[in-house]
Amino acid sequence: MIKKIFLILAIVLFIISCSDSNPLTDSQKNRLSSYGEIRKDTLFAVADTFIVSGKVNTGNSPKLLIGAFKSFETRFLLKFNNIPPDSVLIDSLKLIFNVISNFGNGINPITGTAYMVLQEWDENVNTDPNWDYASNIDLSPFTSKNFEIPANDSAQVIINLPDSLLSVWNDTTSGNRNFGLLLNFTSAEHIKEIASSESVLGPRLVSIYRNVGNDSTIRDTSSASIDASLIDFLGSFNNDSLYVSAGYAAHTFFKFNFDSLPENTIVSSVNFFFEQDTINSIINTNHSQTIYVRNVITDFSELKIPYFEIDSSFTSNIFYIVPLTEKNNNQLSLDNIRRAEVGQYFIQSLINKEINHGSFYLQYQNEGYDISVYALHGVDSPQIEQRPRMVIEYFINPETRI
């Protein structure tokens, strides 16, 4: 009997005691003051700099660039491995490419010349300091052809190439001589963006020919095997501003000091605000304005040396590279959906001193696709609202309750 009563009571009480209850809504601060508080602070960057890395690999770009705008000059190389043999009778040899957009002001037709290339190159040629296009092209009129690209944002361009190109490209007596073509501009005030071999609209070589002793014509189309843009920056970056640049790479660094935050800060949300310097920017609206912010583990004082390390120590890689996007008013900030994770993983690790230095590195998402220069106001900007900053909402639990 004792056991039965005890067992029934124990079971009933255990079941009831496991139930959860709703919280009491209470705002009696004196009872709860020791449970911490939520604060919001704006941390301004304490130091900045930019480093120009210079030329970038353009071989994987979906665009080929030709023209000139501001201090940039561009031209492009392309090569076709599949060409008609030397034994055929050529009726026509045409280079066809598609303009997909214009970058720059005062859009007009661009005139230029297609030259035969005399030296080997690869798709990373833009970063090769020893490869000079001017000394590696054949200026002979027998292998060159002038052309004009119309002003339109979208156009197909057909260039009738000289037949003599094929005899040179097929001549292997002293090694391979098929190094493709360089398309250079004669005069331009803007840059044409052309679909590259990475695109279905990429350049094609169309040849119409007949075999000897046979009157029927054959039409052969081949896509470019490799292509790459050559981008030269002839100017200099103004030291009064900071730069994030694509086509000719420049990266901006900001240092934040988290010492003003309490030691036991627990971050809920973070947003960055970086203001565009519209005067010094050369914004290409065809270029994605997504800029990555990453954590730098090189000491800020050593950043002048063009070498630095990016942190990639997070277990989940999505947190060490975070996109900033331009919302409005020429201002870069985080998307809503990223602010919590950036705060609780990216920034919390810095506050915890699990990652040193607290420096951030800004780079374009795609640096080798085309040209765009995003200039930013720095820490010395005369207007406070233009200075780079971070808005952080965090919880501070100053001491335990007991």
Binding site: M1, I2, K3, I5, F6, L9, A10, V12, L13, F14, I16, S17, S19, S21, N22, P23, L24, T25, D26, S27, Q28, N30, R31, L32, S34, Y35, G36, E37, I38, R39, K40, E263, N264, T265, I266, V267, S268, S269, N271, N336, I337, R338, R339, A340, E341, G343, Q344, Q348, I351, N352, K353, E354, V391, E393, F395, N397, E399, T400, R401, I402
Partner: protein
């Protein structure tokens, strides 16, 4: 003996799953929960009066000197079920908890002269959940604070009666327990991450107490007890995404002295009245690291009640074997709320139900009461509590007659 083994098992396992029966007033800076003496259902049925009762069966759980008069080994186990409705100016919430409230084992060494025993019971209870709305700055958020855990006492008791009218007991206590605060900031908007912090407080300490019992005549008896001040060693650890160690610390928590006394008077053949008073100097005696904790208040509780006892003849109807109890209690808690003392008052009724002969009894009591008021303390609690005590005894170590 088998039933004793089972009850002994529950006696030592159940105290570690105690949950609640706490008070909102026990939450706050430096508060350890709701402190209370763990009276038996027998005493609670009489409004919390037990100091002067030398029960022949149920073990007295606040005046251990009465144990000296037991002649059989006895066990008492306590259970209860709490209902609590907490109300603030603009919110009301109810919660229910079931608890095992400890138990005692007493063994006579010299019948009616010397006894020893052990026991365990919770002394401070925490099981509350609070919500503070609108704590976010840039987004809507609420802070939920959940505190759980209890402080318990394991006791070793020796009771000695040098005279048939007088007894004394010494109580050695090992005090232990754990309180866990969970602080949760819950945002209701994308871009803000929830925050979870867990503070865990672990307590250990030893204490000492003494009890006296004096019965100058058959109609009157009195008891007194003292629990001397003692210190908890408290280790605190915090878990959150912050790696700050500022919350991890060690403190000494001084619990003040507790005095209690009570008297019973037999007004008629089967009618007994009783009164108990307990007092504790929390205002000056409660310290954390030798610093007095603010918002504390000297607690007292005055109980008064009556009991209608079973008939003494052997063959009587079951209803005449039952015990009927009733009582009132009034006191002030050991904390202040809104800067003012928190009153606690209520009434109780109880029954004693013998079973399986005269050496087993099941006591049940029902209390209703109120703590604080919205006008004075900004918060009030209405509570009810159903208490159960199972008391059983048998002869141990008795040689079996052949």
């Amino acid at each position: 003996m088998k039933s004793y083994k089972k009850t002994l098992f529950f006696l030592f396992i159940f105290p570690f799953v105690v949950y609640g029966g706490s008070s909102i007033f026990g939450i706050g800076s430096g508060k350890l929960g709701m402190f209370q003496n763990q009276y038996s259902a027998t005493a609670l049925g009489r409004g919390g009066t037990e100091m002067g009762f030398a029960d022949s069966l149920g073990l007295n759980q606040v005046n251990f000197a009465t144990w000296a008069f037991i002649s059989r080994s006895s066990i008492s186990l306590n259970l209860n079920y709490d209902g609590l409705t907490t109300e603030t100016i603009n919110h009301k919430v109810s919660s229910y908890d079931a608890n095992f409230y400890g138990g005692y084992l007493a063994m006579p060494i010299l019948s009616n002269k010397l006894a020893m025993g052990i026991g365990i019971n919770p002394v401070a209870l925490n099981n509350q959940k609070l919500e503070i709305p609108n704590v976010g700055i840039d987004a809507e958020a609420s802070e939920i604070i959940e505190t759980k855990g209890n402080l318990s006492e394991a006791k070793f008791i020796i009771a000695y009666a040098p005279h048939s009218q007088f007894a004394v007991a010494a109580v050695a206590m090992y005090n232990f327990g754990m309180i866990t605060d969970r602080i949760m900031i819950e945002y209701k908007q994308t871009g803000f991450g929830d925050i979870n912090i867990e503070n865990q407080y672990q307590f250990t300490g030893t204490g000492f107490g003494m009890d006296l019992f004096y019965q100058p005549s058959e109609k009157i008896a009195a008891g007194m007890g003292i629990k001397f001040p003692f210190k908890y060693s408290m280790n605190t650890s915090q878990t959150s995404i912050s790696n700050s160690s500022t919350a991890d610390n060690f403190k000494r928590v001084t619990i003040p002295m507790q005095l209690r006394g009570g008297i019973i008077y037999q007004v008629a053949d089967r009618w007994i009245t009783a009164m108990d008073l307990q007092f504790s100097n929390w205002e000056s005696g409660y310290k954390i690291d030798a610093k007095t904790v603010t918002d504390m208040h000297n607690s007292f509780k005055l109980g008064a009640g009556a009991e209608y006892r079973p008939g003494k003849r052997r063959f009587i109807p079951y209803i005449d074997k039952m015990t009927f109890r009733g009582g009132l209690f009034y006191g002030q808690m050991n904390v202040t709320s809104n800067g003012k003392p928190v009153d606690e008052y209520g009434m109780s009724i109880g029954l004693g139900l013998p079973f399986s002969g005269i050496y087993n009894r099941f006591d049940i009591s029902f209390e209703i009461g109120k703590r604080g008021s919205i006008e004075t303390n900004l918060t009030s609690e209405n509570f009810f509590r159903i208490n159960f005590t199972l008391s059983t005894s048998e002869l141990w170590f008795e040689r079996e007659e052949r």
